[in-house]
Symmetry: C2
Amino acid sequence: MINSRFQPDEWKITETRFEPENGRDSESLFAMGNGMMGLRANFEEKYSGDTLQGTYVAGVYYPDKTVVGWWKNGYPDYFAKVPNAPSWTGIEVTVDGESLDLAVCKVKSFRRILNMKEGVLTRTFTAVMTSGRTVEVTACRFLSMSEPETAALSYSVKITGGEGLLVMKPCLSADVHNEDANYGEKFWENESAESDGPRAVVTAQTRKTAFVVATAMENVFYADGKQVKVMAVHEANRDFASSTFEHRYHSGEVFEVRKYVAVLSSLNHPAEGISKNAMKRASEAALKGFDAMLESHKNAWNEKWERGDIIIKGDIEAQQGIRFNIFQLNQTYTGEDPRLNIGPKGFTGEKYGGSTYWDTEAFVFPFYLSTSDTHVARNLLLYRYKQLGRAIENAGKLGFKGGAALYPMVTMNGEECHNEWEITFEEIHRNGAIAFAIYNYIRHTGDKNYLTEYGLEVLVAISRFWAQRCNWSEEKKKYVILGVTGPNEYENNVNNNWYTNTLATWTLKYTSDSLEWLRSTSPVKFNSVVTRTHLDPDNELKHWKEIIQNMYLPVHRDRGIFLQQDGYMDKENLTVGDLDPAERPLNQHWSWDRILRSVFIKQADVLQGIYLFEEEFDEETIRRNFEFYEPRCVHESSLSPSIHSILASRLHDTDSAYKLYLRTARLDLDDYNREVKDGLHVTSMAGTWLSIVEGFGGMRIRNDRVCFNPVIPPAWESYSFMVRFRNNPMRVEVNGKKVTVINLSEDNIPVAVYGKETVLGPGAKENFEK
Amino acid sequence: MINSRFQPDEWKITETRFEPENGRDSESLFAMGNGMMGLRANFEEKYSGDTLQGTYVAGVYYPDKTVVGWWKNGYPDYFAKVPNAPSWTGIEVTVDGESLDLAVCKVKSFRRILNMKEGVLTRTFTAVMTSGRTVEVTACRFLSMSEPETAALSYSVKITGGEGLLVMKPCLSADVHNEDANYGEKFWENESAESDGPRAVVTAQTRKTAFVVATAMENVFYADGKQVKVMAVHEANRDFASSTFEHRYHSGEVFEVRKYVAVLSSLNHPAEGISKNAMKRASEAALKGFDAMLESHKNAWNEKWERGDIIIKGDIEAQQGIRFNIFQLNQTYTGEDPRLNIGPKGFTGEKYGGSTYWDTEAFVFPFYLSTSDTHVARNLLLYRYKQLGRAIENAGKLGFKGGAALYPMVTMNGEECHNEWEITFEEIHRNGAIAFAIYNYIRHTGDKNYLTEYGLEVLVAISRFWAQRCNWSEEKKKYVILGVTGPNEYENNVNNNWYTNTLATWTLKYTSDSLEWLRSTSPVKFNSVVTRTHLDPDNELKHWKEIIQNMYLPVHRDRGIFLQQDGYMDKENLTVGDLDPAERPLNQHWSWDRILRSVFIKQADVLQGIYLFEEEFDEETIRRNFEFYEPRCVHESSLSPSIHSILASRLHDTDSAYKLYLRTARLDLDDYNREVKDGLHVTSMAGTWLSIVEGFGGMRIRNDRVCFNPVIPPAWESYSFMVRFRNNPMRVEVNGKKVTVINLSEDNIPVAVYGKETVLGPGAKENFEK
């Protein structure tokens, strides 16, 4: 276990030292968000040390011109990036003419506390200026979870050791750039700024995409707790606005700025008048006041915790780790807007730019499905539904016809943004994950209407893709899918990836079955689907059936395993134990061809398929595959260990499950991969949640029933989690002796624990033993 | 057949119209070179129309920083590019203050003639200035083949319609750039210029690589045929130098500049004093005079034609085409310097930057081997020998050890320059082509010493690579080579490419046999090789033998063909006839994944292997493979049709052979691929030569004998070609009735024509009938 930089605590992440060498790491770890916007934990006051400045507004993107070595037909022209937006946390502080800057001053004490329960970040420090004056600062910020276009921060300063002049200058700045800009371009233009005493607004527009973002502040100044009506000096240049508060200080006097902020984007407001509107919203926040805003904010967080907390007893580090993960997921996505999605780094950094990957459906979707109201998961599905037209266009660029859809590898608006042929064009299993999410949603929520109204259009389009993408092999007398990259990105352009072929066949079958069900239950609705999709039900379904019955699914009979891909068994037969630890991670030490021809797997691939369709395989089949593939998996994706952990739990191998769980649980908090400086692995955090709920808790939806088969890691006294089934919440408590399920809803919930089926009435609480 | 822009002519390429829309095409087609330097046919006078300015100096390169979308371990930092060097053809002409510029004037007549026999380019035109004055220009240039650091041009002007002031300003300019610079960088620095009356020099140094190039001129002016001792106005700025000749002209008077040029590079001269040296060389050239220089130049060309001409009777377009190809090969590489090689575009454009590809060994090498003195081919081998250390470093970057070498895909100095993993890391068959060239050289020349002194070091290093690159497949109980790209770049990352596996096995065997031969014939020399290569003869050879005996070579038993790669027969079974012509060429219409999973082959792959090792296969095997693969080959590489044509000739299918031959014969002259603007396909021109000599002529070296099995295309009356065996030249004449072989040497030459073996004595001429 890596030695943590942070004190073990159930609810808090506390940093106790100023460590400039970890500056970017902490900026990521203490990042804040509320689904609508977010920011890295950049300091309020000037900081001339190393920093990655980051302020992000959900849904706003810039199409950064593609960089490519060797162009291939079909590559996109741009990679959509969430631009670093105008910053609003800045407060320049000058004491007797000297800038407060922790890279320059002597820092005597420093403490930063993230309160995850309340969603509040507090920073306190004492610094000694070159003049010898001691400055004590307390800064506190939150991004309102109840009014997600607003935020507030309080910044108080006490100077001891003499008297002099204190200047505090809260500001807004649109003079920002992205470190990862491909060509060093500025992403913003048409900046303007206005100020009006303690109020100001900065407005900027993204180049090319013309999103307008208005960032406003209203500042209230206090001296020794009393509001000061200063005649604020204020300025507004093109991309910068500030209010200035100057005060003669006496030793020990406390000065505070309360900065109320509103960030509005043209995604949600008319661009016309958006500056005024933002200024008005900032003023309204100021009028409401810091404490009242904070109160609503805390209440909103409280609700989130009530719906989705996991409590672990007996292992405080595990408790801290899982809460950190749940906290970040909730900061990133709240599910109120079907135009938004979950970027791999959320609002915590620039890396991976474009927002949406298959991570959403494969890892994050089950989290929101189980911990939020039905509409949240539904909005995630609608995001893809709304982009169906673009997915069809995308498939068209690759030569597919007749309404076949290929959803993009990475996107912001539905257009493909990724440009690596072996991924962009070949990692097509993502299409299957999107189909599976529809199925998963329906079995969880029972909302079959979704299928009729939206889901079938997506399913038909994806099925058409699979039907065109496979071809008949005269050699095998089977349908084959050639030239793909599976979830294991350490093999490219392979033939008959078992996972992809399985998912393709499943999609065709699920789509066909759903269409047949609709035809038999509601001919009118069926006809409506036919009309909307221009389906030729007889011929298309017949063709799909032919494929379903004749798809080639590679297996290795002697070993009784499913084969990763056709050529897998020709590889040099090694396991991870044969690797020189100095060559790990492989992707930093081996050339790409060497990785590709090795047996080593980046992340669950056959096992990902077994995870999805577990009920189709007997335990021995699962075990043989797990025992074959787990020793060949290097887990060089943050998404990997969680799926392996879930299967280990399924196989009652709690030791392995726990070891695998530990590889994800505090991945960012303890920075296992030395890359947290770039941002958090938000999407893989959902994997950790899955390893508890579906892994240790053994939660499954089977036959319109929620099932649990809990195990408990020996290191834990007990754990409990909250989940929903058919939107009815329940709590599951597990300790070494028994499992308790509490129905928190007003409906009956059909459950099965350790195979014992029962129906829990409203409010019922029942114990189960193995 | 595409309608040619050029009149049919045995020796000349003549352009008769000024067609600005074809400006870049003609700049490529009329490019000149002499192995040491070259240039595109840019106009002497100012030209404000579309143009690609290009002047190139052999061996001088700039490491242009790599552009890459997604970095992989092992990618090179730069791509070596031949920089556009200081230009020396410029002569600014002003008539009564108005610039002579064909993009502005009215062009009344225009003619450009490339005389391939003499290596001279002449351009004449008549232009009407806006003033109404008519200007007649005759420009003539050559790059001396006898003194390859010098060149000369004559530029004469006759103005009619009045009198006035003519200004002619011959100049040198280092203010040049490459259009293909990755980041718009300038490749030159430290420019300096000097001038001294009619003489001037411009010197510049490449950034990073610090090659210094000094370009000098001495100008002599004539009025009506008499040298004019003008007090030339001259100037020299940092990167520009000129002499100015001003004269009052009378209608009909003729003025001429003769510009003598020397281009010296620090590759061949000390950088210190290089400017003075160049100036001196230019003066010496001027002293020798235009006519004397031209005479030596023509003689040098004459020798080349005597050694390597192909004469075709009855098809003047074919005659013109093949001479154009031979001419370009001789312009590009003369074989005097083992540090130089043959870039795919020679000195005719910027595309493909770095100089050396596997084209050299696979296509161009046999041309020089058969048409030049032995030392030329030997220098091509030495080029790779000198880069062996770098090839071992290159393999080391990919994880290979113990002296294994992987020669680069593209290089200038031995370092890999290419960055596309599927090519750079996986198109490893290039290593085999380099080994095969050694074998080919020895069977042609009999120079076994080369093996002992140099060849075996390269062969051992390449064999070590193959031995490490294959692995034992438990599944197949064979050695396999996984994750490669064969010559068919329309399949990437495939397993067991038959061509690669065959070549690997062959290399191991040839190296082993050569070592055993040396051990038995000269233990001392054997020990020297062992010492130089740190060979462990017992263990390494034993291991190689094990691989040779157990290499997996994929075949399709039912069809009796060798398999392109393991998964080839799973593909949708189509042929080129099934393709929509609107989708050709595929690489401009299909996305990369679609190309990869299709059966369509870019260029000879299995057939390339059959070409190399033809004697190992019976005719029926060759036929089955040809008949299977030819209909699946889209020939979207300029290197492709020639190999197919040779095999068709081998199969006595003269019709197919001729059709395939036509696809390469005038590829650039008639611009089949609409890309001649970027430069000529110099390396594939050797393929056309091969389709005649090895194809129609059926030339082979077998058992220390040169064999011919000629066929003749019905369209031709007769053809003849010159080849050498053991450095002894001979001529082969073929018509519909008989084959005549003439020994032009003073040695015996063992030949076989149509299987009839004989020895031709010195000067002997013998006829053969089929």
